[in-house]
Structures are given as C-alpha cells and as structure tokens.
Amino acid sequence: MATLGNLLLLASFVACAYAIAASVAGARRRSRRLVESGIGAFYFITALMTVATGVIVHAFVTNNFAIKYVQRYSDSAQPLVYKMTSYWGGLDGSIMFWVWLLSMFGALAIYMNRERQRELIPYVVATISATCMFFLFLMIVHNNPFSTFLAGPAAEGAGLNPLLQNFYMAIHPPALYIGFVAMTIPFAFGLAALITGHLDDSWLRAVRRWTMVGWIFLSFGLVLGMLWAYEELGWGGYWGWDPVENAGLLPWFTATAFLHSVMVQERRGMLRVWNVTLVILTFFLTIFGTFMTRSGIVQSVHAFGEDRELAFLFTIFMVLILTFSFGLVIYRLPLLRARNELDSWVSREAAFLANNWILLFSAFFVLFATMFPTISESLRGERLTVGPPFFNKWMMPIGLILLVLTGIAPLLAWRKTTLSNLVHQFMWPVGIGLATGITLYALGMRVWSAGTAFALCAFVATTIAQEFIRGAHVRRGATGSDIVTSMIGLVSRSRRRYGGYIVHLGIVLMFLGFAGEAFKKEAQVVMQPGEQITVGHFTVRHDALRVTQDAQKQMITGHLSVFDGDKAIGEMRPAKWFFNRRENEPTTEVAIRRGVGEDLYIVLAGYEAAEQSATYTITVNPLVNWIWFGFAIMTLGTILTLLPETAFALAAAKVPAGAATTSMLVIVLFMPAPIQAHSAATGGEAGQTFATPVERSPLWKKLEGEIMCTCGCNSPMNDCPMEPNCHGLETQRAKLAKFLEAGMNEDEVLRAFVADYGHQAVLARPIDEGFNRLAWLFPYLLGIGTAIGVGIVATRWSRRGPGQADTANDVMAPEDSALQTRLDDELRDLD
C-alpha cells in the first residue's frame, strides 16, 4: 500500500513537470494540442492525487500501522469518522490533503474557464502545477505521509490527539485549506494575465469569483476555528490572537480588500496595479501563513516543532513567488496604467480606497505583532512579546472604522457625491445610529467601545435596510407588483449588489457578538456538594462529582443544577476526559447553555475526587451566538452572489427564496454541536500515573533529537510515540548517559553510537561530511535538476517548428464576438 502511495506521489510530481512544460510550450508555439495535453496532464494529476487520498484513507480505516503517519495519528479504538479525519491530523497528511484539494480546485477552474479564457489557460495550468509541484516535492523529500517503519508494523497507533477528536476539528481544517487553496486560482489567473499581457479587465471576472469562493471558505474556516476554541478549549473565549489564528486571518484581510477594490477597477479602470498586487499578496500570505506556523520561526507555547529544513524550503519558494510575480508586475507596468483618476474624496472609489488601506494596515499590523517576538529577538537579542491586549487595543478601533465604512461606502456615488445627495442618503441612518447611541447611554451603558459598536451597527443596518426599501420602491413603480415580490426581483436582478449588502448585514451581526464580549461575567470557584454561586442572573449549584469509564477514556463529570433566579432551568454536566494512553492531557468538555441573549458556559477546571469538591469556571457570555448567526447570514449573501444566473432564475421563479431557505438550513445544521458531558455507570476511583520528565542538559536534549530510538518507531528519541513505555528508549538513554558521563562531546557521542550500532541508521540524519553530505544534498539536486530540465524542454519545444504555428493560429483566435458581447453585457450589469 505504502509503495503504491509513494509511486502515486512520484507520478504526480512527474505529471506536474509535464503539465508545466507542455502548457508553457503550447502557449508559446500556439499549439492547441500541446495546451490540451497540458490540461489533460493536470486532470491526470487530479486523478492520481484522488487515488493517493483513497490509499491513505484506506490505510487509516484498515489500521495499517506499518505506515508511520497512520501509526502516529490513529489507533484501532478510534471511531471511524476520526480515523478518516486523521488524514489531515498532522503535517505530512495535511500537505497531501492540500495538494489534493488544489488539484481538484485547479481542475474545476480549468474546466470552467478553458473556453472563455483560452489565452490564459496554459499559464494557469502551469502556475497551479508549479504550486502542486512544490508541495509534492516537500512531501517526497521531507514529509512523506507514506513512509513506513523499517522494522515492520507497530502493534498499535498513538492515536489522534483527543482535542482534535471533535466535530469542528473534523471540518475546520478542510474549510480553512479550501480557503487557502482556492486563493491559488486567482493568483494563477493573475500571473497568466501578467505573462500574456492580456490585462484588459476580462481576467478579473474569473479571478473575482474564485476569490469570493476562497474568501467564504476562509471565513468559514476561521469561524469554525472560533467555535472549536469556544466549545473545546474551555477558556470562555473564541479568539486569542494566537500565531496560528493570525496566519489564517492575514490572507482574509487582503482577499477582502481585493473583493472591494476590484469593483473600482471594473467600474472606473483604476487601481489596476493595486489589484494585481493584492491577488499576489493574498496567495503569498497563504504560503507565508503556513510557513510561519509550521517552521517554528514564530514560537508560541503551543509547541510547533522547529523545522529548519522546512523553513529553508519554504523560504526558497516564497522568494521565488515574490521575485517572479512582482518582476512581472514591474515588467507590465505600462499595460497597467490607470484609465481614470480620483475625482473627489467624497466618492465610492475613495471610500473603497480607504477600506483597502485599513484592511491592508490590519494585515500589516497583525503580521508585525505576530512576528514581533522574532523581530525583537533578531534586532535586540532580547525576546519581547505582545499579548492579546495589544492586539485588541489596535484592532478594536480598526474594526470600528471598517464598520463605519461598511455603512458609508455603498451610499456614496461613483466619481462624486453632491451635498444634497449626502443628506438624502445619510439622514436616516445617522439619525438612527445617534438615537441608538443616546438611548444606550441613557440606559446606563458606559463601555465606550461596545456602545460605539452598537450605535454603528444600528447605523449600518439602517443603511442596508434603506437600500433595500428604496430599491424595492423603484422596482414596484416600474413593474407594479407588491413590495415583497419586487424586493425578490430586485435581489435576483442585481445579485452582486444585494448579495453584498446581505454579507454586510452578517458582518453587522458578528460585530454585535464581538461587542457583547465587553459585558462578559466570569467567576472561578471551588464548591463542595450542595454549595452554590450566582453569576449574572444564573445561580449554579454543585450537586455531585462522578467518575465513569468507557473503552476509550475515563470521565470525571460535575453534576450541576442551574437556576434562573429561583426557577430551576436545568442541569449542566461539564467534564474532564482522560483518554487512554494520553492520561496526562485531559480534554475539557465544556457545558454550554445557549441562548439568544447570552450563553452560560461552565468548565470543570479541577476536582478532588475524595471530597467530591470541584473547581468551576463559570462564564456568562452575552451575545456570542450572534457571531455564528451573523456568519450564516454572510454565507447566504455570498452564495447569492455566486449563484449562476440560471439557477437563481429557476429558484426565484418557482419557490421565492427557496434556495435561500435551503442553504440557510444547511448552514444552521452545521452549527449545533452535541456538547454534553456523557454520564455512564459510576466507575472506580481515578488511578493515574503520570510520567514526569526529568530536566536534562541542553546537550542531552540536542542528542535526543539526533539519535534514533530503537523500538522500531523510526523516530528520534525525543519523539518516540511509544514513550513512556518504550523498551528501546530506556536502553538508548542508558547508553547516552554513559557516554555523556565519560565526558564525550556531541560528535564523539554520535560516533560512539554509530560504532556501537554498526551503522549510521541509528542517527536521525547522516553525519554531515564527505559522501554523507552528498546523500544529504541528493534530493535537492534532484529537485533543482528537474526544474532546470523542465525549463529546457519547455523552451526547446516552444522554439521548434515555426511552420506549425500557422495552423495553430486560427485555433487560438481571439475570443469570438458573441462571447465578447456577452462579457460586455455582464460587465455593464455589475454594480
């Protein structure tokens, strides 16, 4: 099985190389056949990666512990679903998953655009294949998910981290990857447009839609991550400005900026360099985000292993992306000149420009603050860190300004807005916003940030409502139908505009949720059975502590009765689960009582089984659910915008808003999660033994990373999955201790181990000298060699046979006039 997997990866790598060469050559020789064969090669890659995915999932399902990756992230007791999701549970598999997704998306994008964007397609294929190739290279030389144990299969797997055995963890990474991966498509189109010089605005069409797809999945991934943190980690919050979270946020900012500024280009022919730059930046940031969190350059307590080699490979790739794409931008600057200039600062394009600056600044700020510890260490030699308060201090006002712009921009006219127009447009929204603010103040709200946020939410909501109502009125006047029908007609006629408003409405609701954070109440308390505490208007009584057991884990559950004032409103069961073989990493099972207004959120933070006493963190989180609900609205708006015309016409004709209801239901179905502490028959006392790591010298630690454990796990000593019950590890440690006591230095110890074992296989990597250095370099040479080979083949092919070029010319003829007219029509309809 593993051999098959390896072969598939290698075959995909070769196919990628061919796809690049054939496409580039085909485009240059104007040979339709070569281009078609490049496209075919890409479909072939998709097929290969799909089979490879099948192979690894099969290995997980059949508990094939001969494969290291399977052994490390799965075990036989795991439920089937989590066996399958273990596919993306670790680095190696997630890279493979990434390539698979990229090949799927790429195939889809190529299939959909191969006629319409005939000039661009070869370079699109080449760019996507090159990206695939990088990740395949990474897998083959560094992170092969199919590598096997030399010493035969292990008896049992180490199991997926229990924190990740969760509904959201099963779907959150795919969503985020899809978002990341989809951003490659716009980049490929952008690059193709730059290379061919077809920089008229037609390429933007494909790019805009794909960016939107990527954007909504990215948002989905981020929101799922927030839900996961909220429900699984048990600190009562959902966003902690962790480097990993920030990595997902960076491309989101630039993609959002692009989705806005692209409209300026479509309408006014401005910001063309800027838009290309944003597309490139977004793609770059997806790669950079991966690099940042995976290579260990940003340290966080969340222990991402430092991986110099990975960092090195990523750096090369990123430098290549940047030089190549910005080189092209500079080369094409003459073609990217703006057709218009900014007429007035009181215009929609100016508002979009402001929105872009702020989004870009946010991206820059988050990047800076995330990298700050690394930057300060390299500049001053002293590690300084910034925490969530620093992020919040900056991002809160930035968020509020963005919220204001969300309201203002759509109401401004293109080019220039007159004063009377301003009054007409802003009278109601500003009035209602102010009224909300004053009412809240009068009601005794003194938190300025939340108060401003609420007032602004009211302002923006009013602008959106006003747009809908005014539009519907105009349409009613024209068609003579009733107001609801005309509103549906309005939305279906210019979906992009009204879909956008619905997305904005979702953002407003999410801001409500964020602002609710200011009124959070929290208590930490130790309680004996029968004791109670009041938080907000809830009273919570600790009744008992139960210890139970099932095949996978031991569960400690707190039994609580909850009262609202005097009225009993139910029981809550927060728990701690100790999974077998991971007894020292219990998972927190939060009990949440959801409500429209607020959530009651209880965590069992600690316990004394003997006294039946328990420590609880009890939080009342106002308005959190509006974040998830707002996101559902946002998705709805995006789907509306993306729907193909025919599909929407059908839905609108038969069941008005039927499509909307269905998609709404689908989204809502994702939301509720079975969060309940399980209670089974009462088991015995908790009897746990914890392995206590001993403090060891730095040299010892370093050596543990360089010497392999001999138990057959094929991992360095510090990484042996069998720890702490590993027979091989103990002997190796004893040896190591002996050598170190004898006063040997690092080199001598390594040599002693090799002499003792009789072979260099005992070392995690070969000693860096002579022939060994060559072995070390080999994969790199191979990679570079292939790249050069591809380049040579491509140029040779493209030079050969000028005679053939003539026959190809009519095939690659400029787009026919019918298509051109349709495109023009569509562009005119855009608003």
Partner: protein, 144 residues
Amino acid sequence: MRAQSVKIAATSAAIVLALSGLMYTTLSEGTEYYKHVDEVMVDPEAWYGKKLQLHGFVVDGSIQRRPNSLDYRFEVQSNGKVVRATYNGVVPDTLKDGSEVVIKGELSEAGFSVSPNGVMAKCPSKYEPAGVGALGAAGATGNY
C-alpha cells in the same frame, strides 16, 4: 499630476509617521520580556516591577494549593535557578511536576506574582496540532 503625487506622498508619509508613533507608544506599554528563569534570577532586583514572561520547568513536588481555594504556590526553575510563584485562579491541566511552563506576571521581593490567566503549560508529550494554518492549539489560557 506632479502636484498631486507630491500631495499623495506627503499624506502617506504623515499617516505612516503618525501610525508608527502611535504604535511605538502602545508597543512600549504592551510588551513583555520573555526570559528564562535563570536569565532573570541572576540579578532579580533589576527586573522588579517589569512585565515578564518567564520560561522554565516546574520543580518536582513544589505545587501547593491552599485547601478549598484557588491559591497556588509553586516553584519554577531552569538551569538550577529557582523562582517561587504565587497564583490565584484556575491552572491548566498540564501544570504538573516537571512540566514546561511560561508564567506571566511581575517579580518582587516576595517572589513572582502571576497575573490572572497567566499560567501556560506545555504538554509533557509532543503536541502536534491539526494541520497547516489551522487554529491548532489555541491556548489553554487566553485573555478573553
């Protein structure tokens, strides 16, 4: 055209300057020193009153808890230097003898006073979060 580009340049320069100034001032309030226990305990008095994040290992058997309360006292060491820490609140499950911790707070003569939610402990075993760019292991503690 020329005058306009000058205007644009001047505006951007002003904005960039203002923002970096603002950033610098807030940064000096917001930053914390990240140190290993032994780096600080060589000359502890120099660090009194500064915001610190200390990195080290929990001394075996040093974790004490006042019964029926959330008052904790434990010692953290690295390379032989020890600091005594006091904390009130819920500690992460991973705070165990020997575990690798980062504590946030301030140092004084009485020892290291850990700020609320200021204890972060690494799991003793390797922790591999889910995937690339995933919100893998968002903290065991967080500030909101």
